[in-house]
């Protein structure tokens, strides 16, 4: 399942929903990305995205994970809008019979999302606003 939303998410409830009604799960791995508090240099972060394409890309990332690993369920939730240090940005989760697949898939979801899903971060700080540059 994929979701793009302004509101925060509750990791415990998301995991409960992921597990509900599914048998055969032995391992669940979650990754939560949060706004890092970089010594006061960032007072807020704003996430812009490309509505329509974002959902298509996230669905593609999720489908690719299911093609690569035997998974009972996966989840991607990504927030947009204004966030503050400590806030949740993104959640990926993977449930599988075994831990190897769950770890690898949860990591694949976030790694692939970071290179393909159309989100852009703008940081606000004492020195003004700037768009975050992509990792080389």
């Amino acid at each position: 399942m994929i979701r793009v939303q302004r509101d925060d998410f509750d990791i415990g409830k998301e995991i409960d929903a992921l597990r509900k009604g599914r048998t055969g799960i032995g391992a669940i791995v979650t990754f939560t990305g949060t706004v890092r508090d970089a010594h006061g240099e960032v007072t807020a972060m704003t996430l812009e995205h490309y509505p329509g394409m974002t959902e298509k890309e996230l669905a593609r990332v999720e489908a690719e994970a299911h093609a690569r690993w035997p998974l009972q369920a996966t989840l991607i939730v990504h927030r947009v809008g204004r966030l503050e240090p400590g806030d949740n940005i993104v959640l990926t989760a993977a449930a599988s019979a075994h831990r190897e697949a769950a770890f690898e898939a949860a990591r694949f979801l976030i790694d692939y999302l970071k290179t393909s899903a159309p989100f852009w971060k703008r940081e606000s700080g004492p020195a003004g606003d700037k768009w975050v540059e992509a990792a080389p």
Binding site: K56, K114, F119
Partner: protein, 84 residues
């Protein structure tokens, strides 16, 4: 009519988020379109001057410079993505 979309600093520089335009003749690829956009005034020249730093999507799918825009309904320009 084709919808053009601009995101992040590309939008900041062009000054617009989206526009619906009739593409002039002779534009068949993303590269052709960028070349033409650069001639549309100082904001566009500035926005696209570092064209190697700009990514494009044609109909909501990642595109390359040689991707065709012939039947495109929606073409977007943006910096490399920084989500997650």
């Amino acid at each position: 009519m084709t919808r053009l979309l601009y995101f992040a600093w590309v939008k900041d520089k062009t000054g617009i988020a989206s526009e619906d335009i009739e593409l002039p003749g002779g534009i068949s690829t993303v590269a052709d379109l960028i070349g033409w956009l650069k001639t549309r005034g100082p904001e566009f020249t500035h926005a696209f001057e570092q064209d190697g730093a700009i990514r494009a999507a044609v109909d909501q799918t990642h595109a390359r410079l040689d991707t065709s825009v012939a039947d495109a309904k929606e073409i977007a320009f943006f910096p490399p993505v920084t989500g997650g």
